[in-house]
């Protein structure tokens, strides 16, 4: 120990905050009930909104009689489409060819296209009275027939939902590299299946909530919204309502989750904003859980028919897929109907070398609520299908799940690697994550336990889910192909004010991602203050000229990148001012722990002292050195960065009751440099829990007429603590991506890998029965049917 070199005093001893387990600054507020959500907002003369919603899936509106409702106690107004003739419809155009954008009136006009679509709006003194009046509105609907099944909706005799969408086909796209059909035709080994990922609900704990307030004296409209994309809402509603952005502010205060469901522009937001302006009263709408399940955008709902060809060693040759995505009644604004289904075919080849690929996707309209962004977008269904095919291939050759992946994953020397759909993977720990996960489970030992357990009537199964995803996507790549907005950049401004306090402003909108903490850690480390010295402001369109919000695993990468480049600019100003004050070369000035100093000198001041010198003291610095301590920079990663992981699930099935329990879960993931391991763990845990829900529980059951059968939380089942095992998360940092912080996005991965891993684990557990999982969620009831069908056939 005595040989250790003495610490170099000239080296910065500045504490490092990136990578530290800093406890969340949000927690004291949110965990003690001091958060401020949209529904908490109260204002004088506030009125409350309830919607009358369609109880039929597809029908012509014959009449809407509002007379009794309008006369009901406490009612201020009842409005239908006829009352908003000037309001443009919601639509999301796309640059994709063969794309038919649907047109969605903010309130149903002439035709309703899903159960839950708003037909009339009641404004009353409170929500109770509004619901009393809503029950008095008489809606006369003439059924137009409904084709709720997506395959049937593509048939020639299907009922057409929109005049401008021929054959209910909103979009069609093909990705093709090499000759997959030809290679498959001549391949000796191939596996095929038809996979179904059922429709699910994002189900944020806070339902959609909007409060609009209009100040007629200043002609200022303010909308508080539960959205995670306030910038998108501002831009779209400013256009729809024809209000300039300087008179229209959209604020996302504390937001209780979104998972994608609150990240689109909703008709109710437009209506609430418009009513506040027209009535000149604050207007509040808080959707209830029934409305959340029937009118918030939904997830998945794809059929993937795919074939994987491989050689005798298990090396993949070709992949061919036909995908049908049920997009519901309307394309989601602004992301377009392409968002979810097209990403299924873009990501299907996954992290593997598969030289030949052909994937065709068709998006089909059915009379159900629109599908929209959901944590993982496209990838949960793609990874489910591909990872099942990989295990099926392994089974035909007698290979273990880890071995076939090892033989096909893109190796460290092969990056950047372009897969058959055109997606480019940059270096990420594909193999490293697989090896870490595989060594953690001890497959050989598991096979022994599996055999022993079978004697006791317990079917154990082990399943791998390996994937790669693109995160922090820059302006080169559209988050959804052909969509009309740019989500690839982020602007941050960081300033030291006259009190010496640091404020960093972003266009992100944290709704559970802990950005108040992680962005503060980044700014603090770059500037040389403590994280708790930094206040992060976000989620308010008045703060930034442009921005979209928080979604698509972008905020740590792009927002964090903007934080770094902006804070570096600010630090330069700090050093210049301090250099002038100390009369030294600015390059010799250092900062750390809230102090500004020149090492090995007596020059040492605090940020408040520097602020005093710059802003208030007119003698300390010459006028030209008194530049405001503020910097604003933009960051656009241009491309995206690749995040990889392998999930491993172990399940135990009771052979008699068929109850399925996830008994073990391992995640080995590479998200680059972690900003805060506590936050990374929390994001992975939350995502995996949702993935368990998608794999075992969550399903929106629609009947043939488009009626939702699982419209309460007694029937729409999500995973609770009792259904979740201890989650073992391993973080690997292979090679850092080439962005300012070395960060990769990781907010969505949990939901991407977990469904596939669990599907494979269940398939492994029941393999001896000759059945396998081709549909998620897989429930004991469905397992019972599969076994009965198999026994019936045999």
């Amino acid at each position: 120990m005595t040989d250790a070199p003495p610490a170099d005093q000239s080296q910065t001893v500045r504490p490092k905050y990136i990578g530290k387990k800093v406890e969340r600054f949000e927690d004291p507020r949110l965990l003690t009930g001091r958060g401020l959500y949209s529904a908490d907002i109260k204002a004088d003369r506030m009125v409350h909104v309830a919607f009358v919603r369609s109880d039929q899936a597809h029908a012509r509106i014959v009449s809407v009689d509002t007379d009794d409702a309008a006369a009901a106690p406490g009612v201020i107004g009842v409005f239908t489409a006829a009352d908003f003739p000037e309001l443009p419809e919601l639509s999301a155009p796309s640059a994709m060819k063969d794309y038919h954008a649907t047109v969605c009136p903010v309130i149903a006009r002439d035709v309703v296209r899903y159960v839950g679509e708003a037909v009339a709006v009641i404004v009353a003194q409170d929500r109770y009275l509004a619901e009393d009046a809503a029950a008095l509105v008489m809606v006369d609907l003439d059924p137009l027939g409904a084709t709720a099944d997506p395959v049937a909706a593509l048939e020639p005799d299907a009922v057409a939902l929109h005049d401008n969408v021929p054959g209910n086909k909103v979009l069609e796209r093909v990705f093709e590299t090499g000759d997959a059909p030809g290679e498959i035709a001549k391949a000796q080994h191939k596996v095929s299946a038809r996979f179904r990922m059922r429709r699910k609900a994002p189900l944020a704990m806070e339902t959609r909530s909007y409060v609009a307030q209009y100040d007629s004296g200043r002609d200022q409209l303010v909308l508080h919204t539960s959205s995670n994309t306030p910038g998108v809402v501002r831009d779209e509603l400013a256009r729809l309502l024809n209000i300039p952005g300087n008179r229209f502010q959209v604020v996302s205060p504390d937001v209780g989750g979104s998972f994608g469901g609150k990240g689109s522009v909703y008709p109710e937001e437009a209506i609430v904003a418009m009513l506040a302006r027209d009535l000149e009263r604050p207007v509040k709408y808080v959707s209830d859980r029934l409305e959340d399940l029937t009118s918030t955008s939904q997830a998945f709902d794809e059929i993937v028919e795919a074939t994987l060809a491989f050689d005798k060693d298990g090396t993949f040759i070709a992949l061919d897929a036909e995908v049908i995505g049920d997009i519901g009644a309307y394309s989601i604004v602004p992301w377009t109907a392409a968002l979810e289904p097209v990403q299924v075919v873009s990501f299907l080849p996954g992290p593997y070398r598969t030289p030949h690929y052909r994937g065709r996707v068709r998006g089909v309209c059915t009379p159900k609520p629109p599908t929209g962004p959901y944590r993982g977008v496209g990838r949960p269904a793609a990874v489910f299908a591909m990872e099942r095919l990989v295990d099926m291939a392994a089974a035909t050759l007698g290979l273990e799940a880890d071995e076939i992946r090892r033989r096909n994953l893109v190796g460290p020397e092969e990056f950047p690697f372009r897969i058959g759909s055109g997606i480019r993977w940059d270096r990420s720990g594909f193999l490293e994550c697989l090896e870490d996960a595989a060594s953690s489970v001890d497959v050989a030992d598991f096979r022994k336990r599996q055999a022993e357990a079978r004697k006791r009537g317990k079917w154990l199964g082990l399943g791998f889910g390996t994937y790669a995803e693109l995160t922090g996507i820059g302006s080169r790549i559209a988050v959804a192909p052909g969509m009309p907005i740019n989500t690839g950049n982020e602007t941050a401004s960081v300033r030291v004010d006259a009190t010496g306090a640091v404020t960093a402003t972003f266009a992100t909108a944290s709704h559970g991602q802990s950005l108040e903490t992680t962005l503060a850690q980044i700014v603090a480390e770059e500037l040389g203050v403590r994280p708790s010295d930094v206040t992060v402001k976000q989620g308010d369109t008045a703060l930034t000229p442009h921005g979209t919000g928080t979604y698509a695993s972008r905020s740590a990468v792009i927002g964090g990148g903007a934080a770094i480049v902006s804070t570096r600019s600010l630090l330069k100003r700090v050093k210049e001012a301090a250099g002038a004050l100390f009369d030294v070369d600015p390059d010799t000035v250092e900062t750390g722990d809230g102090e500004i100093f020149v090492p090995e000198t007596n020059h040492r001041i605090t940020f408040p002292e520097l602020a005093q010198a710059v802003y208030s003291d007119m003698k300390a610095l010459p006028m030209e050195a008194r530049k405001p301590l503020e910097a604003q920079e933009n960051f656009d990663p241009y491309l995206g960065t690749t995040t990889a992981a392998t999930h491993v699930a172990e399940v135990e099935i009771d052979s008699e009751t068929l109850a399925i329990r996830v008994t073990r879960f391992i995640v080995a993931e590479d998200c680059g440099r972690m900003i805060n391991p506590l936050v990374v763990d929390g994001q992975v845990h939350g995502g995996v829990v949702q993935g368990i829900g998608a794999a075992l529980l969550e399903e929106l059951h629609y009947d043939d007429t488009g009626q939702l059968l699982s419209a309460t939380l007694a029937d729409y089942l999500i995973a609770t603590a009792a259904e979740v095992p201890a989650l073992d998360v391993h973080h690997l940092e292979t090679e850092l991506p080439e962005n300012p912080g070395g960060f990769r996005g990781m907010g969505e991965g949990g939901t991407i890998g977990a469904p596939a891993a669990i599907a494979n684990a269940i398939s492994d557990a029941v393999a001896h029965l000759g059945i396998e999982v081709q549909e998620l969620p897989m429930t004991p009831n469905k397992l019972f049917r599969l076994i009965a069908e198999k026994q019936g056939k045999d």
Partner: protein, 286 residues
């Protein structure tokens, strides 16, 4: 999802409650765990709510001649930790763990569960299994009713609109009886897909007498009387064979969560498990 307006009364005695029910559209509220969601969905819109939470003597578990009386206001959590019930009927504590979640167990009541009459719920099955007598108070006094007469169909009971379920008397079981409860639900705390309860008294190596109740397999909780008869004198090894066909003639619900076939397949599994567990517990006592 807000209820329609209603009149709210909070009587302090059973007599006042009965008087308050003399109204064309009154509903009793106790724990509110079933009624309030139904009101929020406006599936029911009672004009008057009679809140019985202020009637203190309905919340007691008391020893009575030949058994234990459970007041209608006894909460699920209270029943689970009650020492008198725990000694006489340990199956109650075992079953209460399956009733929803802690917050619901702290509020929900036995009276509410019985009068709501969900055929998958735990209390209707337990009272049926334990041959309980349901005590109903009306204008003309108190009457008692067995579960066979009390439960008609889902949400339908023998309770008249101006009557109040005031308690349940569970007759004592013979010394040495063992009992067990189990259920299959989709998640911990969900309504049972199928539930089973058993009481077994041993006679040497054989079953002296057995009771078996099934939930989730019909419109009401069911006693498997034929199985009970066949079990008398049987050994533990015989149980699986005796219960194998216990649900073949039943026509349970067929819904998105569980097909009738799946529900039927669960009955003999759970029946065997609870009977064996009950028998082993009975053996342990003797």
């Amino acid at each position: 999802m807000k209820p329609a307006s209603f009149e709210y009364l909070r009587p302090g005695t059973v007599d006042e409650a009965i008087a308050a029910l003399d109204h064309e559209d009154a509903k009793i509220i106790a724990g509110g765990q079933s009624l309030v969601p139904m009101m929020n969905f406006r599936l029911v819109q009672p004009e008057r709510l009679v809140d019985i939470n202020g009637i203190a003597d309905l919340g007691q578990v008391t020893a009575v001649d030949g058994g234990v009386r459970i007041g209608a206001l006894v909460r699920h959590a209270q029943a689970a930790r009650d020492t008198m019930l725990g000694t006489a009927f340990p199956i109650i504590g075992e079953a209460m763990r399956h009733v929803a979640h802690v917050a619901i167990r702290n509020r929900g009541t036995i009276g509410g569960s019985l009068s709501h009459a969900d055929p998958s719920a735990e209390w209707p099955l337990l009272v049926s299994l334990l041959d309980g007598a349901i005590e109903i108070t009306g204008k003309s006094g108190v009457r008692t009713c067995g579960t066979e007469e009390f439960f008609f169909s889902p949400l339908m009971t023998d309770l008249e609109e101006d009557e109040l379920l005031t308690g349940v008397v569970l007759p004592s079981l013979p010394d040495g009886a063992g009992m067990a409860f189990d259920e299959v639900s989709q998640r911990a705390g969900d309504f049972a897909v199928v539930a089973c309860g058993a009481v077994v008294a041993m006679d040497g190596p054989c079953i002296g007498s057995a009771r078996l109740a099934l939930g989730g397999l019909g419109d009401t909780p069911l006693r498997a009387t034929e199985v009970e008869v066949a079990l008398t004198g049987a050994t533990l090894d015989d149980i699986a064979g005796i219960v194998a066909d216990c649900a073949v003639d039943l026509e349970p619900n067929d819904d998105m969560h569980a097909s009738a076939g799946y529900r039927r397949s669960l009955a003999p599994v759970l029946a065997r498990r609870v009977l064996i567990r009950a028998a082993e517990r009975a053996k342990g006592k003797t």
